[in-house]
């Protein structure tokens, strides 16, 4: 029946009766009942019925709060519902007003005896001003008057919310959000000040935050009432004791607390806001409550007038375990919080809470402006406006998130097989960096004022030129300001890096580090940051041994400075993992990457841009050591996280797509890999231009994929383009250049151009030896490729020698069961065969097949290559049954994994035809390898 009533209530009032009559049919009793209920809805709207329920419930609740106390039913026109709060000066009721309009109000009744009531009269003017205050963040004062028993009361907007600080803590708001909310409070207080009203009792419980449509809405309550209370208390003879009865000592300005002749003014509110800001930022008061309250007048004078309270950044770390909690609700660590507060926010709080009102901000608006300046990373006015300081702010604005962007590095994939190829995991600065370069350049222009304005107006100065010039000037014109020099040099180093000018980047970074080491005695967060960045740049440059040293030093420093739970420490671990992987130290690389990942997860939660980067890096390492399945899983996880967090064509998304493609290729999933790579290449070329290292890497990878899927002529052309580009953009030794040389060498060998192939391979090998040393999987790969070329040129002995060197190098760096060993094993086997030694070839080929089967599985195309080679060998020595078995396995895999026109498929098919048809054996080695 009530369901029926509910349905009827959804209809317009005049349609309900007919609806109910129809639904009840001939059930007269039900009809009567339903109509009776519905008639209620005509009598009074349902909202007031709800309030009726709430009133009964609310009153019941207030019993609990007031023990045996009884309260008035009404005060003036207000029906009292419940007690909202009670304090020294009075009691606050939640009440309901019916006439002249219906609304909920909070009614504050001042205690303190009947004599107080005439205070209200004295504040008549102010009372009217209060009622006129109209601001979205001020609880509106509706009315003031006397109760029947002569107690003064105020009726004001009933704010349903919690205190500002509690709201921020419960919602775990970060500093920025807290500051943004606080600025709304400031706007409210400023509005009141402009209307001639000061609050006099600003404190956390007078700033409430409610929510409107899910957004926090702060409201300042009790505006102006404190003054009335103060007057009342004075009349009662209580007000002269500081901290007693009126106002709240913790937030009270010295002139209020000590009743100094100046008396309270708008700058007393600024003081209170400064204390409130301190608490909002740090979770503690500038001076502990107990210290203040225990002080006598002389003590208060000392505390409030003659002592500089510790800066918020220092208070933030006090009480180590509590500091962790306080920092946690601000989404950071105590040291992180302290760092964020140090400098500008310290200065803002200090400026607002100066003992002498004349030294505070001139108005609340000035305080608010300064916070805005801080939020926009502009120089704040609370700090002395020196040129050095403004520069510092500029530095901050451009501070690299180097700490947080650990994986911003181009890594090189060591491919098992003919090709090695390079992948960029760069969080691609390039385009961003180009902008930044212009900014830095124009800053430098401002900074040093271009000497000849005509010249600079007519010359088309590039960012690079300005940078070079700026770097010069930094060392000459800023002599004697090493800290500033170091900061600017770091920025410039990062800018050079973004432009791909690694050499200059390293030089500037080393200069910066040199200055900082002198300045800070070796241990300073900035040194760690610069070492970290230097390590990354050197990794990009391929200067791996130095990179590793830099990163290990950065890690040691960060562990000492920030501990092992800090995101910055984790980022350095990840960066070091990248470098270790590039050096072939897979085991330590993996451990390091997993460490970094788990620290980041603890510190940042499950979904975060840095975590996507960690996953990306870890996948890359796993890929290198042959754990392809987990590599694919992690790569997909990284890609989907990045897609969720970033724009679809964001460089990091592209980088993940590229790496996923390479894993897919290694697992033999060509189609998806191919389309991913093509997309990445097109997007990079459009965004970065053809000469960017990232675009070059994509070009190389795309060519590689074309090669793998059998389109070798196309691939040859692209590899050639890649070498030409690489020689242009990397003028000297560079890992990417070495890779393109190697790749073109393989392409030329396949084309039959053996002499050119050999010279390309020798150049790549020499370059990699210079860059990577004599113990590196990439060097081993170069050796294997050279060996294959030597073999087809007819020098089997030399071929065997280089393959054996490669095998030893691989075993030492990659371990005895790495699938890449198959490359060297197969090379030695074929070199032995070419020298007529069939006996030792067989175990070598079998071992090659085993290492691949174990790590990659039976149905992997690379395993198929080993199966094919073994089968072909067995056919040649006449063991047809065994040969057929391996060739069929290879064919099945290749047919499944590769396009039907792929040369590998036809090669295996031809072997099988020869085997089954009994034709004379083929002599050419199988392609692909």
């Amino acid at each position: 029946m009530l369901g029926l009533v509910g349905d009827a209530l959804e209809l317009p009032a005049d349609a309900r009766k007919a609806f109910v009559a129809e639904r009840c049919g001939d059930d007269a009793e039900m009809l009567t009942e339903a109509l009776s209920l519905l008639s209620q809805s005509f009598l009074s709207d349902t909202t007031s019925i709800t309030e009726g329920l709430d009133i009964r419930v609310g009153r019941a609740a207030s019993w609990i709060a007031t023990e045996e106390g009884t309260h008035p039913d009404r005060i003036g026109p207000y029906v009292i519902l419940q007690v909202l709060g009670e304090g020294g000066m009075g009691i606050v009721y939640g009440a309901h007003q019916v006439e002249p309009l219906e609304r909920d109000v909070a009614v504050k009744v001042l205690r303190g005896g009947a004599r107080v009531s005439h205070v209200i009269g004295r504040f008549e003017t102010e009372r009217r001003a209060l009622a006129s205050l109209d601001h979205p963040h001020i609880a509106h004062i509706f009315d003031a008057g006397d109760t029947d028993t002569g107690l003064p009361y105020f009726a004001m907007e009933w704010v349903r919310g919690v205190t500002l600080i509690r709201y921020c803590d419960e919602h775990r708001l970060a500093l920025r959000e807290r500051l943004e909310l606080f600025r709304k409070v400031l706007a409210a207080v400023h509005h009141a000040h402009q209307n001639g009203i000061i609050h006099c009792d600003l404190k956390p419980s007078n700033v409430l935050v409610g929510e409107l449509e899910g957004r926090p809405v702060p409201k300042v309550i009790d505006f102006g009432i404190a003054r009335v209370e103060k007057e009342a208390a004075d009349l009662e003879g209580e007000g002269s004791l500081p901290g007693r009865a009126v106002g709240t000592l913790e937030y009270m300005s010295p002139e209020q607390a000590l009743a100094l002749p100046a008396g309270p003014g708008t700058r007393s509110d600024i003081y209170a806001l400064g204390v409130l800001l301190h608490e909002l930022l740090t979770g503690v008061l500038p001076v502990a409550s107990g210290t203040l309250r225990a002080a006598d007048r002389a003590g208060l004078e000392r505390l409030l007038l003659h002592t500089d309270p510790p800066a918020p950044s220092r208070r933030a770390t006090e009480g180590p375990s509590a500091a962790v909690d306080r920092a946690a609700v601000r989404g950071t660590s105590p040291s992180g919080l302290s760092r964020a507060l140090r400098g500008d926010l310290d200065a803002i709080v200090a400026r607002a809470t100066r003992p002498d009102p004349m030294h505070r901000y001139a108005s609340v608006a000035h305080l608010s402006d300064d916070i805005e300046r801080y939020l926009e990373r502009r120089p704040v006015k609370a700090r002395p406006s020196t040129w050095a300081y403004r520069t510092r702010r500029f530095v901050d604005r451009h501070r690299w998130s180097a700490a947080g962007t650990g994986t911003g590095v181009m890594v090189i994939l060591g491919m098992a097989g003919v090709f090695t190829l390079r992948l960029a995991t760069e969080r691609d600065r390039a385009q961003l960096e180009a902008d930044k370069a212009v900014q830095v350049a124009s800053f430098l222009q401002d900074l040093f004022t271009v000497p000849d304005p005509v010249a600079s107006a007519t010359t088309d100065v590039t960012a690079r030129q300005l940078l070079d010039e700026g770097a010069e000037r930094i060392s000459t014109e800023l002599e004697g300001q090493p800290a500033l020099q170091a900061s600017l040099l770091s920025i410039m180093a990062n800018t050079y890096r973004g432009l791909g000018l690694y050499g200059e980047s390293v030089l500037r970074m080393e200069e910066a580090l040199g200055l900082q080491r002198d300045l800070y005695d070796g241990t300073h967060p900035d040194i760690a940051t610069n070492l970290h960045t230097l390590g990354l740049v050197r990794t990009e440059r391929g200067d791996l041994a130095r990179a590793e040293r830099n990163l290990r030093e950065a890690l040691t420093l960060r562990l000492a400075l920030h501990g092992d739970h800090d995101p910055a420490t984790a980022s350095t671990m990840t960066a070091l993992a990248i470098t270790l992987r590039a050096r072939g130290a897979y085991e330590e690389a993996e451990a390091m990457a997993r460490n970094g990942l788990s620290i980041h997860r603890l510190a940042l939660g499950p979904v975060h841009r840095d975590i996507a980067s960690d996953l990306h890096t870890l996948a890359h390492i796993l890929r290198s050591r042959g754990a392809l399945e987990e590599a694919e899983t992690l790569n997909r996880e990284a890609l989907s996280m990045r897609r969720r967090l970033l724009d679809a064509s964001h460089p990091e998304v592209l980088s993940s797509m590229g790496n996923l493609a390479i894993v897919l290729e290694a697992r033999g999933t060509y189609e998806e890999a191919n389309s991913l790579l093509r997309e990445v290449f097109e997007l990079r070329r459009a965004r970065l231009g053809a000469d960017h290292p990232g675009t070059l890497a994509s070009l190389n990878n795309l060519a590689y994929m074309l090669w793998r899927s059998g389109r070798q002529a196309q691939a040859d052309t692209l590899f050639f383009d890649a070498v030409v580009t690489a020689r242009r953009i990397f003028p000297a030794d560079h890992p990417t250049l070495a890779i393109t040389l190697n790749n073109l060498g393989v392409a030329r060998r396949t084309r039959g151009d053996f002499a050119q192939a050999e010279s390309l391979h020798r150049e790549a090998l020499a370059m990699d030896r210079r860059l990577l040393g004599d113990e590196h999987p990439r060097v081993a790969g170069d050796l294997d490729n050279l060996g294959k070329t030597l073999l087809v040129r007819g020098d089997a002995v030399a071929a065997e020698r280089v393959h054996r060197e490669a095998l030893a190098m691989r075993t030492a760096t990659q371990g005895a069961d790495h699938p890449d060993l198959a490359e060297s094993l197969s090379g030695i086997a074929h070199a032995r065969l070419a020298q007529g030694d069939t006996a030792s070839a067989e175990p070598l080929l079998r071992r090659a097949l085993t290492v691949r089967t174990d790590r990659l599985g039976e149905d992997n195309p690379r395993t198929a290559t080993s199966a094919h080679e073994l089968g072909a060998f067995l056919r040649q020595v006449g063991r047809t049954d065994e040969a057929e078995r391996w060739l069929r396995q290879a064919l099945a895999t290749r047919q499944t994994a590769l396009d039907s026109g792929h040369p590998d498929v036809s090669a295996t098919r031809r072997e099988l035809t020869l085997l089954l048809g009994g034709d004379p054996p083929a002599t050419s080695p199988s392609p692909g390898g």
Binding site: G6, I49, R56, W63, I64, L84
Partner: protein
């Protein structure tokens, strides 16, 4: 009291909400917790004393959530039980006060000597309680809904997801239940 919170958390996490034994135990614990919270308010140890039953319930919930938020089912379960427990706390308080007043205890007057109360507020509340019971005999679902709205302070949307029905259905039922209660209270 932390122990109570711990036990509540444990039931919410492990308990089968459909097991009436567990629900009774939970009801008892939540009742105890709400009473304790209310007492703390009464003793004024605790911040600004804004007190509404719904605020108490939410505070109780926050303390649970503070340890580790229960899953959705646990949350629903908690609010269903807490609405009932809060109602019971208030009923007991109303009865106690009524009894004290009838016994002619001296009343402490904090504010206003003229406005001595008769026991009508207590009576009002107990009337509401009785009406709700009658509503519940007619349709337990509606009694539960009113408890969620009035004592647990859930919004229409929250009530809908807690009861596992559509918002529209909740809105209709809520409107009808209010009409019924209004008429029933007017008649009592």
């Amino acid at each position: 009291m932390d122990d109570v919170v711990g036990r509540i958390t444990e039931i919410l996490r492990r308990g089968d909400p459909s097991d009436p034994g567990r629900t009774d135990e939970l009801l008892e614990l939540v009742y105890e917790d709400l009473r304790a919270l209310a007492t703390r308010y009464m003793r004024r140890e605790h911040g600004p004393r804004t007190l509404q039953p719904t605020a108490l319930v939410h505070e109780a919930y926050m303390r649970l959530a503070g340890t580790r938020p229960p899953d959705w089912e646990g949350r629903s379960h908690f609010f269903r039980v807490a609405g009932r427990a809060m109602r019971q706390v208030l009923v007991d308080e109303a009865r106690r006060r009524g009894a004290v007043k009838r016994g002619g205890d001296a009343r402490r007057v904090t504010l206003d000597t003229q406005l001595l109360d008769d026991s009508s507020h207590e009576r009002d509340f107990l009337d509401l309680h009785d009406s709700l019971e009658r509503l519940g005999r007619m349709d337990p679902h509606l009694e539960n809904l009113v408890e969620l709205r009035v004592f647990s302070g859930l919004t229409l949307d929250e009530t809908a997801s807690t009861l596992g029905v559509s918002r529209r259905k909740v809105a209709k039922d809520w409107a009808a239940a209010r009409l019924w209660l209004h008429r029933d209270l007017a008649g009592s």
